[in-house]
């Protein structure tokens, strides 16, 4: 199965109490199909959760993220950033919900999911959802699906960088905000294999 590797804390439920900070990192490398199902409850004032995800697919992987971030108390903060690249005939699905309970005022919740599609046959579906029942909140989500930027590629190639290398650089820079510390080499190797 190649060098498929999945580095993440176990999926499941997380209860975050007042003042606690939860950091989670999800990494899905080529060759690995995964269903990541996570539910986080921010239960006390000042609780925080920060999620980062990275996924790389090049064959027929099926990667599903299902994330529920539930702000149950006022003054909590959450951030989510998931960046991934899909090639081959991979199917990627990101389904993320932020729920802000009534009275969970002063909530800050942000969620982003960015995807690059490399082939005609890969399929990406993203469903970033907000359910907000309080008014004094700052919430946003963003999602993009696209391909490698032609202009950037042209810029690098016109300066003598070979096409494959330029694409690798583009992909690495796209992934850089979500590459876990200490795993830069492993990720780079995986990106070169795409």
């Amino acid at each position: 199965m190649g060098h498929g590797k999945y580095i993440a804390p176990p999926e499941g439920q997380y209860q975050v109490a007042a003042g606690q900070v939860l950091n989670l990192q999800f990494t899905v490398l080529p060759g690995e199909s995964r269903d990541v199902d996570v539910r986080i409850d921010l239960n006390g004032p000042g609780a925080e959760a920060h999620l980062k995800g990275l996924y790389l697919c090049k064959a027929d992987e099926k990667v599903n993220f299902h994330i529920v971030m539930h702000h149950r108390a006022p003054g909590c903060r959450s951030t989510q950033l998931f960046n991934g690249i899909a090639g081959g005939t991979a199917q990627v699905r990101f389904d993320g919900t932020i729920i802000v309970a009534p009275d969970a005022q002063k909530t800050e919740a942000y969620q982003e999911n960015h995807n690059i599609v490399l082939t005609d046959t890969a399929r990406v579906e993203t469903k970033p959802q907000l359910e907000i029942y309080a008014d004094d909140v700052k919430c946003s989500h963003g999602a993009t699906v696209g391909s490698l930027n032609e202009d950037e590629l042209f810029y690098m190639r016109s300066r003598g960088i070979p096409e494959a290398e330029a694409k690798t650089l583009q992909m690495l820079s796209f992934l850089s905000p979500v590459i876990p510390a200490g795993q830069e080499e492993e990720i780079e190797k995986a990106v070169r294999s795409l």
Binding site: K138, V145, G146
Partner: protein
């Protein structure tokens, strides 16, 4: 403290279109069956193919479950407790004379039916009262250009080939539960055909009014813009204040041929129910257009302020290469109103482009959802979409939700979605107050600014109405 008073004032703002017109009407009996459908069809002297179409839709509808996926607390609808056909009695006198009572109704609503009174001839109106179209203005002027603009029933009589060709070509009878219901019992609506290369010289407008008690309104609108033509179409709706829920299940189909351009605007102001959520219209509508030919363009603009429940997703199928579509929406919910609205952009052709701008405003204890789908098919090479969905919350007991779905099967396609949720900030209010702007005016100023991108897309006549509506809907609400 004062905030609370002000929020209470919101709930007391009145629905000024809530009067009932006392005009003699005839009804078909309550309930839905093949027999009722045959009666509707017979009353409208429809050809056999149309009756078959209705019956076929009805049989399909009977097998369909009512959808429950929307973020709505939908009351059970008893489909046998609805009158499916109601018409003002003087129907036979049409179109020579319009009943003075009806004319008065539309006058009260500010809809000019007598042509000399129309705004210097810039708007042609088709007015639909319960189940029938009562008057269509400016037909002569339009006819000279070859434009057909008439009630659906007339279109069936006078242009059966066109109607038959395009009816249900965008929204098939079996598309969804409410579209199937509409296909079975639709009563009237507007039909519009713009011939090749013709630029429609005036805004076309349909005005829908529910009047009778216990009835539902099921109108059907079909717009066909042939190659290279242009039309701007507006739709408005109101209903009396009643403490029963009334059903409105409409279907709008738009066909845009090569290089044609259609602009469709709606100001929806059905009765929203009272402050306790009693009564109001259930607005369950299917609207869809197809950009059939290359270079065609379809733009949806909607201002949704009324209805107890809104379930509406004006959508575009971008089939023609390099066709484009836009969706601009402002949805305001207050008191117990619920809205689940948004759009679908289905990209099939090369280089197709779409843009979605949705602004939701929730106040009181209302729930306001944006639900959207952007799909990039295999053939959507270099297609592009941008979506912006913002929500504004006024008061701490309302809800704002965003449910976008993005599907891409084409690597060169680019899809971007962003959404934010926030309230009117104290800084903004303070800034205005400090300059002598009263809190209510400040809110309306800020909301106006927030919704401006959408309001500026409305035709002039509608923009004025929409701004007023926004101000009334949110009167005095400071969050």
């Amino acid at each position: 403290m004062t905030d609370k008073n002000l929020i209470q004032q919101v709930t007391s703002s009145e629905y000024k279109e809530g009067f009932v017109t006392d005009v003699e009407q005839e009804f078909l009996p309550k309930g839905l069956s093949e027999d009722i459908i045959r009666q509707i069809s017979a009353r409208k002297e429809e050809p056999d193919w149309l009756l078959e179409f209705r019956l076929d839709a009805f049989r399909k509808w009977q097998k369909m479950p009512q959808p429950d996926w929307a973020h709505l607390d939908m009351p059970a609808i008893d489909f046998q407790d609805i009158i499916y056909f109601a018409a003002p009695k003087k129907d036979k006198d049409r179109p020579k004379e319009i009943d003075p009572k009806l004319a008065e109704t539309f006058d009260k609503l500010g809809i000019p039916l007598r042509e000399r009174e129309a705004l210097a001839g810039v708007v042609a109106v088709d007015a639909v009262f319960d189940s029938v179209s009562v008057k269509t203005t400016f037909r002569q002027t339009l006819q000279e250009k070859g434009i057909i603009f008439c009630s659906f029933s007339e279109a069936v009589r006078e242009h059966p080939d066109l109607v038959r060709k395009y009816l249900a070509s965008v929204v098939p009878a079996s598309d969804n539960f409410f579209a199937a219901l509409n296909s079975a019992v639709f009563s009237d609506g507007s039909f519009c055909y713009i011939p090749k290369g013709v630029r429609c010289p005036m805004e076309l407008s349909s005005y829908f009014r529910i009047n009778a008690r216990g009835t539902g309104q099921f109108e059907r609108t079909l717009i066909v813009a042939d190659e290279g033509s242009y039309v701007s179409y507006m739709e408005g709706c109101t209903a009396p204040m009643r403490d029963e829920r009334q059903l409105h299940a409409a279907v709008v189909e738009i066909v845009v041929e090569k290089d044609a351009d259609v602009k469709y605007s709606t100001v929806q102001n059905w009765y929203p129910g009272d402050a306790d959520g009693k009564g109001g219209i259930l607005n369950l509508v299917t609207k869809r257009g197809i950009c059939k030919g290359s270079g065609s363009h379809l733009s949806w603009t909607q201002v949704e302020t009324g209805s107890a429940i809104t379930w509406k997703y004006p959508s575009t199928i971008l089939k023609g290469d390099y066709s484009s579509s836009e969706f601009y929406s402002v949805a305001v919910t207050n008191n117990h109103q619920q809205a689940d609205t948004g759009t679908k952009m289905i990209h099939l052709g090369r280089g197709t482009k779409s843009r979605i701008v949705s602004k939701g405003i929730s106040a009181g204890v209302s729930q306001n959802s944006y639900r959207g789908l952007v799909r990039m098919g295999r053939g959507a090479v270099n297609a592009r979409n941008f979506s912006q969905c913002d929500s504004l919350l006024i008061g701490s007991r309302c809800g704002a939700h965003t449910f976008p779905v993005i599907e891409s099967q084409q690597p060169s396609a680019t899809v971007e979605h962003e959404a934010t949720t926030s309230k009117i900030s104290e800084d903004q209010l303070y800034y205005c107050n400090q300059r002598g702007i009263a809190p209510e005016d400040a809110v309306s100023l800020i909301v106006g600014g927030y919704a401006r991108e959408v309001l500026s897309r409305l035709p002039m006549e509608f923009a004025v109405e929409a701004r007023k509506l926004l101000a009334v809907s949110l009167e005095g609400s400071v969050g």
